[in-house]
């Protein structure tokens, strides 16, 4: 099976996942999750890393797929969670698919348009009352507008807040099963960027006092555990 899909086609991870699922004519089930995860990660590897924000969004879904896939390797009680995760993933994918379909329909409407009247009706100039505003208010309004406009410039690297948020989400899920080791968290990481985003998520959880990091002596294994347990 070929995974050479033009990258630019996919504006987001869900679009890519949907394409892979539809190509295999499968639902995301425990049987297909392994194949789909492999296909997905193979594709993500070909992504242009020039756009770290975009990449991190692809990686977070990759991390989620790996997590769901890994649940199959864990003892029985994880089975229930895997079923739930898969169900959730299917729901999200199905919702996304419907809107993608709707977007295509909308695109088809683009050949037709309506326009409002271009001419502006107004009273004769001598009938126009003038507004009661001062120059000071005008100057103030301008300064407020300009100040507001400044911070809307494109943001720096790695401000993809939702990617971090959702890695935090999956960390929380893991924490709910108890402690785990750092290397287990990073083993699935495919490159520096994913590691960076994961560390950011860990730091955030520490800050929120949801997670504690414990090291059993110098060079010992680093363990993550729930801070409130």
């Amino acid at each position: 099976m070929s995974h050479t899909v033009a990258t630019a086609e996919f504006e987001g991870p869900l679009a890519l996942l949907l394409e892979l699922v539809e190509r295999q004519k499968l639902e995301v089930t425990d049987i297909s999750i392994a194949a789909i995860t492999t296909g997905y990660l193979q594709h993500v590897r070909t992504l242009d890393s020039q756009s770290p924000e975009q990449l991190s969004e692809f990686l977070q879904l990759g991390a989620r797929l790996l997590y769901v896939k890994s649940l199959a390797l864990l003892p029985k009680e994880a089975g229930q969670e895997q079923a739930e995760e898969l169900h959730q993933l299917n729901l999200e994918l199905e919702e996304y698919r419907r809107y993608q379909q709707a977007a295509r329909e909308l695109g088809r409407l683009s050949s037709r348009s309506s326009w409002q009247r271009q001419a502006v009706s107004r009273l004769e100039p001598h009938e126009l009352p003038l507004p009661d505003i001062s120059l000071a208010r005008l100057a103030e309004a301008f300064q407020i507008a300009i100040r507001r406009a400044e911070p809307t410039r494109p943001q720096g690297i790695l401000r993809a807040h939702i990617s971090q948020e959702s890695i935090m989400k999956s960390l929380r899920r893991r924490l709910s099963h108890g402690a785990f080791e750092l290397h287990a968290l990073l083993d699935g990481a495919k490159d520096r960027l994913e590691i960076v985003v994961t560390f950011l998520a860990v730091l955030e959880l520490i800050k929120l006092a949801e997670l504690r990091v414990v090291q059993s002596g110098q060079f010992g294994a680093i363990t993550m555990e729930p801070a409130h347990g």
Partner: protein
């Protein structure tokens, strides 16, 4: 049956208005009861059904625009570029806001699986969406909805004319 002169005055007002007008405002301007203006607006809409104009109703606001059947000629007049300029992600975002809106950025991000802030800023600047109040949840996040400009862009008279969303399987 509304008075035909009321219908005509409504048509004239909507012609000169520099903004979409609510039925309430139209009632004020025509010095009629709202109970008269609302059916009159429906009759105006029906009357315009086979004409070069179309009455758009969105969010309780009315506006007169050209009929979609005249798209080609009007485009020629305005020398407007063909509207192939909405990207796939932009259409996807608009579709979600049109069917699901008003909704928050977080909800939008969840559905799309990507951060939508740049896209939202872009669509706001193009006037295709507007901020429509805030959600009641903590932090009172801004709600986004599609605008009159959105309807015009696709020649729709109201959101009811959107193709139906596929049923969930």
């Amino acid at each position: 049956m509304a008075n035909s002169s009321t219908i005509n005055v409504l048509e004239a007002l909507l012609f000169v208005a520099n903004e979409p007008l609510t039925a309430g405002r139209l009632a004020q301007l025509t010095e009629q009861d709202l109970a008269e203006v609302e059916p009159a607006l429906m009759q105006l809409e029906a009357k315009l059904a086979n004409s070069g104009l179309q009455l758009v109703c969105h969010n309780g606001e009315y506006r007169l625009v050209t009929a979609p059947a005249a798209t080609e000629a009007v485009r020629r007049y305005l020398q407007a570029e063909t509207r192939s300029d909405l990207s796939k992600p932009a259409l996807e975002t608009l579709a979600i806001i049109a069917y699901r809106g008003p909704l928050t950025r977080t909800r939008l991000d969840d559905i799309r699986g990507v951060a939508s802030d740049t896209m939202l800023r872009n669509l706001l600047a193009r006037g295709l969406i507007t901020e429509q109040g805030t959600a009641t949840e903590p932090g009172k996040p801004t709600l986004y909805a599609v605008s009159h400009t959105f309807l015009n862009h696709f020649g729709l008279a109201s959101l009811k004319e959107l193709p139906p969303l596929e049923e969930t399987v």
